[in-house]
Amino acid sequence: MADISSDFLGIKSPNPYWLASAPPTDKKINVIRALEAGWGGVVWKTLGSQVKNVSSRYSAVGYNGQRVMGFNNIELISDRPLDINLREIKEVLKEFPDRAMVVSLMADNSREKWHEMVKQVQDTGAHGIELNFGCPHGMTERGMGAAVGQDPEIARMIVEWVMEVAEIPVITKLTPNVHSVVPSGKAAVEGGTNALSLINTIQSVTGIDLDTLIPNPNVGGQSVFGGYCGPAVKPIALKMLTTISQDNITNKVPVSGIGGVSTWQDAVEFMLLGATNVQVCTAVMKYGFRIIEDLCSGLNNWMDEKGFARTTDFIGKSVPKMTDWEQLDLNFHIVANINPDKCVHCGLCYIACEDTSHQSINLSKGFPYNNYSIIEEECVGCNLCKLVCPVEDCITMVEKRHAEEKINWKEFVNKGLPLNSH
């Protein structure tokens, strides 16, 4: 059995799964239930000055009949009184000393306010602080949240204020509502943050009620941009995480990966791209805390299969595989192959290739089943047919290199090789 326990800046947890700062972590009742279910830790719902929420608050995007592929909310930070939150944090810490307790903060825009809040949190005995620079709605109008995360200079300043009094690890949570997370990430690291976490939610409109013409979520006939999260955002989160892992300043600190983690595979992917642990919100909001069981057992079994004894054995392993386009080997070539024994004759590969790719699939009419085969000379190895095929391993991509040696774009151009292969 692999060891899936995790150590994030000395904050220990029995597994690398924390609940992200959000409704699942906004009060003792939930948090106790989560920790009983087996979650490694929580990032308490963001504390700050008293706010008031609206109704309704959430909306979602489905895909092909599946609900909540993407999720969106217009909630603010915790709307419960600060003293109750602080008291409950203390109580949870007493009951579950072995789990990570990180508290998310978003103070008003003054040095004193930040100092005061950091100290109040430290007094609870919490293990760490997460600075919420990313809440993309409501708070920004008040000069907080995303506005802070979007301006690297303000971010640096606030991190510096916090570090003046911080005695426990500080994680800075980045907003994805920027063209690159690297500048704000760098600023936070230079300001002294001990770690980064990403991503918070992405500004979005999930859809419109086509009867009433009112966008979602509907608050008395009006709507606002909401923060998007859930499985739909995972690829974007992974990309942003990768840029943090690739940068020489930001990759000096540990990262907590967030954004669409729903399964153990998702978690492994975040960790392979450099996250020390992951945080989860939408998946538990859809299914409840019980999903932790498979998150742990799936990870454990995968690590056993791959021979990884502890999570640090594979964290960041895929980062070096991400490169610049110019570095890719132009002599690498693959062509599709359709296994006729596995083919169910649905024709999806054919029509995709014929209409939108390189016309490299041959159709021979049959009744009622047509047969399909690859025209190898035409195939550019794009993967499209394989991606749309409903049968696992029916279409495989076979390596047929153009030449033995590797050659990247620069070398190719320097050698004056012909670019047009048509």
């Binding site: 092909n64 009949g65 599946q66 169910v344 004759h345 649905c346 024709g347 999806l348 054919y350 029509i351 159709l363 009419k365 009744f367 009622p368 089943y369 047509n370 409903p390 049968v391």
Partner: protein, 448 residues
């Protein structure tokens, strides 16, 4: 032993004749199933549909909750798309071709989805088609069955004025009078007919029989063209001794009774023998059982392997508790006081394959007797031979002969459906009606 009605109470009748293929109860159910569809290209399901319904197309429209578009997709290929969703032997057509079968997965429930899209259209008479302005051409259609009405609808859409002559008092043909009551109700059939005619330009004259109330000669002179879709007639004679005893009935008449009367009024024996193993035999056997017969035995000359019905149909009969006597050929109906008391059968064995490719039954020279009080004949139907013969139409044993465009040897006269194929399915009759309409429009010089 006696033949009588009133064997069950009202609830039992209703339960026994309840819809055998219920539709989706909820939108969610339909959408989940619709989303399972892979949306195949040049889809095998569509290819095996005799009316070539764009099945992946209508299913995606259910998924996108464009139900009107979905109904339109179905009806534009098959105006009986509602009825077909309830009566088609889909296991050997669309659903049998679904590629999920090749993955050893349950095929898409195409019929149920089709029903989901068509039911509201028929119920609320969605206005899905616009008839073109009249082109001042008149066509007579004989028979308001699937072939006749499909032809009438296609012609009317193009602005042809259609008059339908139907010998019964209701439309729908065997859909209304022949198909098992647990598949379609009389109300559904009536709604379907009025949905089809709601496009306008179709005038149905009921209780008008060709050969009795009207003649082909009259029709040919009064109309620019004539389509004959009169189906096939009663069950084939057995030509054995005792066939005239009280208690020997023809399956088509038996089912006709069942479809037109209260279940309690339909008499059935205690012990019933049904002769044949086609769809009609299965329907007669299962419905005799559902009317309260104590024992129903299906008597078939060959074995289960050679059965003309589908496995699905056979399963219904098995689940209903029908018994089977395979390799048994009726030789004589025996009676007491003029009433059936038994059926003597020859024991058979399988010999050489016949022209259908199935091994043909050969008598072993031994007999056995089944103790029964009712015999239902369902060994194939006979065409309206005398009617056809008296009208100079070329035919083969009463089956009307046509060319590929469904034209008969008589100018302006076209034919299609069971009366040319000897008895297939509703969906084949519908396609014939469409094809004939295309040929008639061409003949009339109407640009479709």
């Amino acid at each position: 032993m006696s033949i009588s009605g009133n064997r069950l109470n009202t609830e039992q009748y209703l339960a026994n004749f309840d819809d055998i293929h219920p539709g989706f109860e909820t939108k969610e159910g339909a959408v989940i199933e619709a989303n399972r569809c892979l949306f195949c290209y040049d889809a095998p399901c569509t290819k095996l549909c005799p009316t070539s319904i764009n099945i992946p197309g209508f299913i995606k429209q259910i998924a996108s909750q464009n139900l009107k578009g979905s109904a339109q997709t179905i009806f534009s290929s098959n105006i009986f798309g509602g009825g077909c969703s309830k009566v088609c032997p889909v296991e050997k057509l669309c659903e049998g071709a679904c590629v999920y079968n090749l993955m050893e997965e349950k095929p898409i429930s195409i019929a149920r989805l089709q029903r989901y899209a068509t039911e509201p259209a028929i119920e609320h008479k969605w206005h899905l088609f616009e008839r073109k302005t009249s082109v001042n051409k008149k066509v007579a259609v004989v028979g308001a069955g699937p072939a006749g009405l499909a032809c009438a609808h296609a012609l009317s859409l193009e602005g042809v004025d259609v008059t339908v002559f139907e010998k019964e008092s209701k439309g729908g043909g065997l859909m209304t009078y022949g198909i098992a009551a647990y598949k379609v109700t009389p109300e559904f059939c009536e709604n379907e007919v009025s949905f089809i005619t709601s496009v306008g330009g179709i005038d149905i004259r009921y209780n008008q029989a060709l050969g009795k109330d009207i003649s082909l000669t009259e029709l040919r002179s009064a109309f620019d063209a004539v389509f004959i879709g009169i189906g096939v007639g009663v069950a084939r004679q057995l030509d054995i001794e005792g066939e005239d005893l009280v208690g020997v009935v023809d399956a088509i008449s038996f089912i006709y009774n069942l479809r037109t009367k209260d279940y309690a009024e339909v008499a059935v024996g205690d012990k019933v023998a049904v002769i044949g193993l086609g769809m009609t035999a299965i329907d007669a056997a299962t419905q005799a059982k559902r009317l309260g017969a104590k024992e129903v035995t299906i008597v078939y000359r060959r074995t289960e392997n050679e059965k003309p019905c589908t496995q699905e149909e056979l399963n219904i009969a098995k689940l209903d508790g029908c018994k089977f006597e395979y390799l048994a050929s009726p030789k004589q109906v025996v009676g007491q006081n003029g009433k059936v008391s038994g059926l003597i059968c020859d024991k058979m064995t399988l010999g050489e394959p016949d022209e259908s490719g199935r091994r043909s039954p050969v008598s072993l020279g031994e007999t056995f007797e089944l103790e029964v009080d009712m015999v239902i004949k369902a060994a194939g139907q006979t065409p309206f031979e005398s009617l056809i013969k008296s009208s100079n139409i070329l035919h083969k044993n009463g089956k009307i002969l046509t060319d590929d465009s469904l034209a008969t040897n008589l100018s302006t006269v076209f034919a299609g459906g069971d009366c040319i194929n000897g008895g297939k399915e509703v969906v084949n009759a519908v396609q014939d009606g469409k094809d004939a309409a295309t040929a008639i429009l061409r003949y009339l010089g109407v640009n479709a």
